[in-house]
């Protein structure tokens, strides 16, 4: 789960990372009031869950409360990469002398949390990694020992930070690590971490991605989820315990198991079709879950045919067949279906479908070809 900048920075601040004074505004008038009370130049920052806000014109400096109101009015409602700006963060403007990068990620290959620092802040770290890899310094964190001070000092020295900043930098690095652990994050980034004119360090921008699998132990963080920023179909999928990703094709796919769901998309493409989605109904899918899956697939107007591919291990085919019939009865779809059920209780499952006159396939290749044909309007 991605957090907004203001949410990430508030979490960082709670763990001791210095952030600019500021507040969130939903209207231009509120933005003016915040600027007024801060009594200094401010930065108006759109709060949407995509990168490149600055380039899109979603981050601007305002010297006076009047300007703050005018700029907020401009930014609110703006469309940034498909996301409508519904709020802005009004932050006291920093006195930027230099921009650094400080971030924590999970390194899959090393199976460790890794902290990265760079003297090249304020730009996308992946860009720095590609163009100037020597500017990125990393330290690998032992899960039993946690992040240690010497590791932070090693980073500070590596990026040639002025020595009088080693101590505050170490403090920020350790705080960021605690914020990362305490929130079960997959990514926590301060970019830029700014050296100000008075020599202090300030986390001007923040980004955080949380581990969805760990949200059960962070109900307060889960409440931060911004449903406005999520595709409604993806929201419904999540609420129903389904995994769904919308794509651009015309063949809706309902599959059990992530690997098989991907392979099903791939084989649709192999036989000349385009998959409309990834959807994994997971293990032990019951009727209600299957019905929800079907509603989600059919909410996409591009879908011209649906391919159901169930290989039963945990998921029992008769359950799936009953679920399908219940769902079809409820949703009354007007697109053709191709259904393939194999595995645990497959005979019972197929019998249930045959009784209801649904075309079934035995192999995946056959099912995919039938679905592609059906989407083209050919009769099965």
């Amino acid at each position: 789960m991605k957090l907004h900048e203001f949410q990430a920075k508030r979490i960082f601040a709670r763990y001791g990372v210095p952030i600019p004074k500021g507040e969130v505004a939903n209207t231009a008038t509120q933005a003016r009031e915040i600027a007024q009370s801060l009594g200094k130049p401010v930065v108006i920052k759109s709060q949407v869950l995509v990168g490149g806000r600055g380039k899109a014109g979603g981050i601007k400096l305002a010297r006076t409360p009047d300007e703050a109101e005018a700029i907020a009015d401009q930014i609110l409602g703006m469309n940034i990469k498909g996301y409508t700006v519904k709020r802005v963060l009004v932050d006291e403007a920093a006195d930027i002398q230099k921009e650094l990068y400080l971030g924590l990620v999970i390194d899959r290959e090393r199976r460790r949390v890794v902290m990265m620092a760079s003297s090249e802040g304020g730009v996308d770290i992946e860009e720095v990694a590609a163009t100037k890899p020597e500017a990125i310094h990393t330290t690998v964190i032992d899960p039993f020992l946690g992040m240690r001070s010497y590791q932070a000092i090693g980073l500070a020295s590596g990026i040639n930070l002025p020595k009088h900043l080693f101590r505050p930098f170490t403090q920020i690095a350790l705080s960021l690590y605690q914020a990362f652990l305490g929130s079960d994050a997959e990514l926590a980034e301060i970019n830029p971490l700014v050296i100000q004119g008075d020599g202090s360090l300030l986390a001007v921008d923040g980004k955080m991605v949380l581990d969805d699998n760990a949200l059960f132990r962070h109900p307060k963080l889960e409440e931060m989820r911004d449903l406005d920023e999520e595709d409604p179909a993806e929201t419904e999928a999540r609420v129903n315990g389904l995994s769904y990703v919308k794509l651009d094709g015309e063949i809706g796919c309902m599959v059990n198991g992530a690997g098989l769901a991907m392979a099903t998309m791939d084989i649709v493409k192999h036989y000349g079709g385009e998959p409309a989605n990834f959807l994994d109904i997971g293990g032990g899918a019951r009727a209600e879950k299957v019905a929800a899956a079907l509603r989600i697939i059919l909410s996409d107007p591009n879908v011209k045919a649906v391919l159901v591919n169930i290989f039963g291990g945990i998921t029992r085919c008769d359950e799936v067949a009953r679920g399908l019939l219940t769902a079809i009865d409820e949703v009354k779809p007007n697109v053709p279906f191709v259904i393939r059920l194999v595995g645990t209780n497959e005979k019972e499952g197929r019998a249930i479908l045959a009784e209801a006159n649904f075309p079934t396939a035995t192999t995946l290749a056959q099912a995919a070809q039938m679905a592609v044909a059906a989407a083209r309007g050919e009769t099965l």
Partner: protein, 289 residues
């Protein structure tokens, strides 16, 4: 004969008294797996499916002389269950549970690496040596004994490949689901090494997917250390970048982990990569002849 599990496997079921645990334990028993004990904290002293239940893995292991364990406990307790099994000295721990927080798995894996325990999973279908033992949730009836070792990051996609093999009369030595999480106990290279050393495995199927670079590592390993024919499959050729495709580990991020790179890595070391699951069996059949 096989790798990891066989007729000598003496299995503990952690979470035996739960709904899923009980369902799959019954299926494993029906397949012939020797389940010697169950573990559910607070339910020690009971009996389920004719098997004694203990409060701790240590008690179960001592009383029943177990050498393997399978875990069906919910995600929030699963990391603890793995550590308990490793701490009790179980040789092989198979964790079926999906949804364990990744920071938990980093700690678990770091601990496991200091012990002699081998962990398979989590978020996997388990391990089966057809005709000998099934330690997992796969449908046993699609498997037949034979010469092909299968290793895979997915569950149902593996069943698909196995069914295609069996459909052509090609049996399997052992089928290992290593799991779809970013941090797992046993990787492709570990299983490839076991298959290479197993005299009864004549050919290997490796089923990967988008995310991470374990397939690329496996390709390097195959070039250096595997003499047996290997056939590959990579799921997610149509997956968009930046989106998690069901499995926690199946995501193309920062330009890394795309299917095309994995296919290229495998092909560069002479491993043919199937376009769809049925083709896996065709390619294996050609190589066995």
């Amino acid at each position: 004969m096989s790798i990891l599990v066989d007729n000598n496997t003496r299995l503990i079921v952690q979470g035996l008294t739960g709904r899923e645990g009980q369902f799959h334990a019954a299926q494993m028993q029906a397949y012939g797996t020797n389940i010697v004990a169950g573990v559910t904290p607070g339910k020690g002293g009971q009996e389920t499916l004719g098997v004694p239940v203990f409060d701790t893995v240590r008690e179960a292991k001592e009383a029943a002389d177990a050498n393997a364990s399978i875990i069906y406990v919910p995600a929030r307790f699963a990391a603890d269950a793995i550590l308990e099994a490793a701490d009790a000295g179980i040789d092989l721990v198979v964790c079926i549970t999906e949804g364990i927080p990744v920071l938990d798995m980093i700690t678990v894996r770091a601990y496991i690496d200091q012990t002699s325990t081998r962990l398979i999973g989590p978020n996997c279908p388990g391990v089966i040596s057809p005709g000998q033992a099934k330690v997992g949730i796969m449908p046993g009836n699609i498997h037949i004994p034979g010469p092909v070792g299968v290793v895979s990051r997915s569950g149902t996609l593996t069943y698909e490949a196995v069914a295609a093999l069996s459909g052509r009369g090609i049996g399997q030595s052992t089928v290992v689901g290593i799991g779809g999480d970013p941090v797992i106990g046993t990787k492709f290279v570990d299983v490839l090494a076991l298959f290479e050393a197993d005299p009864d495995t004549k050919a290997i199927v490796m089923i990967g997917e988008i995310g991470g670079n374990d397939e690329e590592r496996a390709a390097e390993f195959i070039r250096e250390h595997v003499s047996k024919p290997v056939v590959g499959f990579i799921a997610g050729r149509t997956a968009p970048p930046g989106k998690r495709m069901g499995h926690a580990g199946a995501i193309i991020s920062g330009g890394r982990g795309a299917a095309a790179d994995k296919v290229a890595a495998l092909e560069s070391v002479g491993v043919p990569v199937a376009n769809h699951p049925d083709e896996i069996a065709e390619l294996i059949a050609e190589r066995l002849n």
